[in-house]
């Protein structure tokens, strides 16, 4: 187990290095941010001054190695646009994104698993057909369009929920969060729902397929024959056995909810990390983009590790770091 973890950490460092180099070079190749940050009427002298003040006049390898040197000390560079350390900018936006991702994940899991379970138990019923058709809609409607429709229906049409923005925040255990106020929760519902719809459809599909697969197996028949309650058969014998793929997907999807809620955050003007990323790409704010990608890569590495650990807890056949293929 220990050897396995050490190997994983070393792999992660390699991944981070490669990612930083690719992103660094990629953004450098697009163009010079100074030209974007200056107003239209800026003269050549002003452009030169801006390039010098942002340190963009130094050769690229020097810029990259300076970045690496600082990164080892935990400094991922200072934003060209906001003149604030990138890592501070990202972490300042993290709570907003986290609460959105957690709410969306709760919607997806708490609705998706029971719906999928029920649909899987009664295949071909009207309920099953409705849920399956609904999940097709969830999969196939583009995210941004779903978002606009939610706004048009609930904010513009019915006027019962705010159109966008993060509402009042309060403090719970020292963390600034929307969960603390009614206004904050009202603002959270629509974007979280928008973000959840795709994941919800995915959860339904996964659970339903899993249930269909195991429900006819001998051990389930045997459990029923033993006279176990239906509830125990479902919760222990069926659900526990189909959870491995669901947990894998949940882990990956939660990561992508945090890292790539960009579209939802843009449509709902949600001050999270995704919106920061897209704004930074448009401004060629290289320090922020690089730092963001590094943080996200690290997050995925950690999530994957946790998922692997969770496997071994759910399925005793899985051995971490053993000789099994």
């Amino acid at each position: 187990m220990i050897a396995y973890l050490i190997r994983r950490v070393l792999q992660s460092v390699g991944v981070l290095l490669a990612v930083s180099l690719v992103v660094f070079l990629g953004i450098y190749a697009i163009g010079n941010p100074a030209a974007i940050l200056l107003p239209d009427d800026a003269t050549g002298a002003e452009l030169d001054a801006a390039i010098a003040s942002l340190g963009l006049d130094r050769p690229l390898p020097l810029q990259y190695f300076t970045f690496l040197g600082n990164a080892i000390r935990g400094d991922l560079g200072t934003s060209f646009v906001f003149n604030t350390p990138s890592i501070e900018l990202i972490f300042a936006r993290l709570p907003a994104t986290l609460e959105l991702a957690i709410t969306a994940m709760l919607f997806a899991v708490l609705l998706g698993i029971p719906l999928g379970l029920w649909a899987g138990l009664k295949p071909g019923s009207a309920f099953d057909e409705t849920v399956v058709t609904g999940s097709i809609l969830g999969f196939s409607m583009p995210n941004f369009w779903q978002g606009m429709m939610l706004i048009m229906i609930f904010a513009v049409g019915l006027g019962i929920l705010p159109a966008n923005g993060r509402g009042e925040t309060g403090t719970i255990l020292g963390i600034e969060t929307s969960f603390a106020t009614a206004d904050g929760i009202r603002h959270l519902i629509l974007p979280a729902l928008n973000l959840a719809l795709f994941k919800l459809a995915l959860m339904i599909r996964l659970t339903r397929t899993g249930v269909r697969e195991v429900i006819g197996l001998d051990y389930v028949k045997f459990a029923r024959a033993k006279g176990l309650s239906e509830q125990r058969v479902l919760m222990v014998h069926v659900l526990k056995n189909i959870l491995v793929p669901i947990v894998t997907i949940m882990g990956m999807e939660f990561g992508s909810l945090i890292a790539f809620a960009t579209i939802t955050e843009t449509i709902f003007a949600w001050p999270g990390m995704g919106k920061l990323l897209i704004d930074s790409i448009n401004n060629l704010d290289r320090p922020v983009v690089v730092a963001y990608v590094m943080v996200v890569t690290l997050m995925f590495v950690v999530i994957n590790l946790l998922v692997d650990v969770a496997y071994s807890a759910l399925d005793p056949r899985v051995r971490l770091g053993g000789n099994a293929p």
């Binding site: 002003e46 060209f80 006027g159 159109a163 009202r186 003007a269 448009n282």
Partner: protein, 540 residues
């Protein structure tokens, strides 16, 4: 409804839809925003966001339109970008190198300290020295030699060289309180005790990506706002901004997209306000000798640059239907342009007529220049730099093709990738824009049309490398002339040479700045596209 309270209108909407639970939750809400809601509050949905609260950090537009609420300048500008006295009540050139400035008496900073000449000295010294500034104010102060404080309300400034524009330039510097902000970094300005100005609003807080909150300065020396609090919400997506206005969560939005205009104009509870801005959208015609990315009419390499001939440039201009662009693509949110500044702005030459489509004349000119069958070219444009830039680029391609030019391709790239190549002269015909920030034409004329001269920092926006010694002579003289009448006469002449005689580039239109607000509010649209709470008042 006379209240400016978005929350209350939302509540009225909730009544209709029988959501008793949510209403109960809302009624329980005792947070600060709900209490403020009962006073006069203005919520602005902005499409752009400041980079810092430090007004000296960058002179980019979104930053300035934020700073203007909290900080004053020596000289302010009205909605037509004409200078009006700000913290300076009068200024005069004692000779070509010396300016005497008298300051406004009785002005106090938000923390109660009096405003004095020392704060001006401090601000003029600080502005060019902000570390890591991406768009510094240094250029505006480059000719400042020294400052002499005569008394608390009088200053004498000397310049290194005669510069008629000096006072307008230093007039753009935001005046900070030395006592509140000396030694502060840009990021320290997020603290309201540092971000202390003399402006019409006091700074309260900024949550980046979300909102910025201001409260009224009741001791302001100028006109007092109708609104006790102002909240700016940053909503960068056009459709989301419009949805916010329609749902009542904001009172006014800026940067309304032409696609939403017909709809918003037809709505009874929303009013649209628009004005021609000072942003000129133009088609640049690359006149560098080495630019030979042209083909003949049947697609073979041409081997020379036809755009070096003024007759060819004039012919292309005659093919562009400017009214078509503004009426159909921009839905009326643009005004056809003839030159660098629109009518009513200092330096606008009445003598330049509007160019109307005349294909016969264009063909005659092309034939005269040796291209009776036209030639082939690729048209380039940016995406997402200004309103509908990629659509306009496509339309230009179609208009040229209709006029008999072989349009090989139309290429649109994101601005970040586009502008370096445009500056390097890699595009033959390309769409660009120029946003005038000073209320007169000299800066634009010298930047866009003066022969390229990096040393003297002239013609640095002249990406086409247009060059005419006669033009250079006139604009050089204008930049040295103190007498306004004489200077404007020279600027007229310069515009005539560049636009009428040489067709150095093809002016297309001035983008309109468009705001939409709920009924009950009046917006004074500004030509500099600044969205200011000071421009909004309650209709009476």
């Amino acid at each position: 409804m006379t209240s400016v309270d978005a929350n209350r209108r939302q509540r009225a909407a909730a009544l209709r839809s029988a959501t008793a639970v949510l209403r109960a939750l809302f009624a329980l809400c005792l947070s600060a925003a709900c209490l403020v809601g009962h006073a006069q509050q203005l919520v602005i949905g902005r499409g752009s966001e400041p980079q810092s609260i430090d007004p000296h950090f960058t002179r980019a537009g979104p930053n300035q339109m934020t700073a203007m609420h909290v900080f004053d300048r020596l000289i302010l500008t009205d909605e037509n970008v004409r200078p009006i006295p700000g913290l300076a009540v009068s200024w005069e050139a004692e000779d070509e190198l010396t300016w005497l400035i008298r300051l406004r008496a009785g002005v106090r900073f938000h923390d109660g300290r009096p405003f004095t000449a020392d704060d001006v000295v401090y601000s003029l010294e600080r502005a060019p020295r902000v570390p890591r500034s991406p768009a510094s104010f240094a250029q505006s102060l480059s000719t400042l030699a020294d400052i002499e404080v005569i008394d608390d309300l009088t200053l004498r400034l000397r310049t290194t060289q005669p510069s008629p524009q000096f006072i307008e330039n230093i007039g753009t510097i935001y005046i900070l309180s030395r006592a509140a902000s000396e030694g502060a970094q840009s990021s320290d300005f997020n603290d309201p005790s540092v971000a202390v100005g003399t402006g019409p609003f006091r700074f309260v807080s900024w949550q980046p990506g979300d909102r910025l909150t201001l409260v009224r300065n009741d001791d302001y020396w100028g006109e007092i706002s109708d609104f006790e609090t102002v909240v700016m919400r940053f909503i960068t997506t056009d459709a989301a901004r419009v949805a916010s206005l329609r749902s009542g969560s904001v009172d006014i939005i800026d940067l309304v997209s032409p696609a939403d205009l017909p709809r918003l104009r037809s709505m009874s509870d929303i009013n649209v306000f628009q004005v021609g801005s000072l942003r000129l959208v133009y088609l640049a015609l690359n006149q560098r000798e080495e630019m030979i990315r042209f083909t003949t009419a049947d697609g073979r390499p041409l081997g020379e640059n036809p755009l070096r001939d003024a007759r060819v440039r004039r012919a292309l201009s005659l093919l562009i239907d400017r009214r078509g662009l503004t009426d159909y693509i921009l839905q009326g949110a643009g005004e056809p342009a003839t030159q660098i500044v629109p009518a009513g702005v200092f330096g606008h030459a009445q003598s330049i007529p509007e160019t109307r489509v005349d294909r016969d004349r264009a063909h005659a000119l092309l034939a005269e220049a040796g291209y009776p069958d036209g030639f082939g070219v690729t048209v380039h444009g940016s995406g997402n730099r200004f309103v509908l830039d990629s659509e306009i680029t496509q339309a230009i391609g179609q208009l040229l093709a209709r006029g008999g030019i072989r349009v090989n391709r139309v290429e649109v790239r994101p601005y970040a990738a586009y502008t370096p190549k445009a500056a390097a002269g890699e595009y033959p015909i390309f769409l660009f824009s120029y946003g005038n920030t000073s209320g007169e034409s000299s800066r634009g004329l010298s930047g866009l049309f003066h022969s390229y001269d990096a040393q003297r920092d002239l013609g640095t926006l002249n990406r086409s490398r247009y060059s005419n010694p006669a033009f250079d002579e006139v604009i050089d003289a204008a930049l040295q002339t103190f007498d306004d009448t004489e200077r404007e006469r020279l600027l007229w002449r310069a515009a005539e040479i560049a636009f009428h005689e040489d067709t150095a580039l093809i002016p297309l239109y001035f983008e309109s700045a468009v705001w939409a607000a709920r009924t009950g509010l009046e917006v004074l649209p500004r030509r500099d596209i600044r969205t200011l709470a000071m421009s909004v008042r309650i209709a009476r």
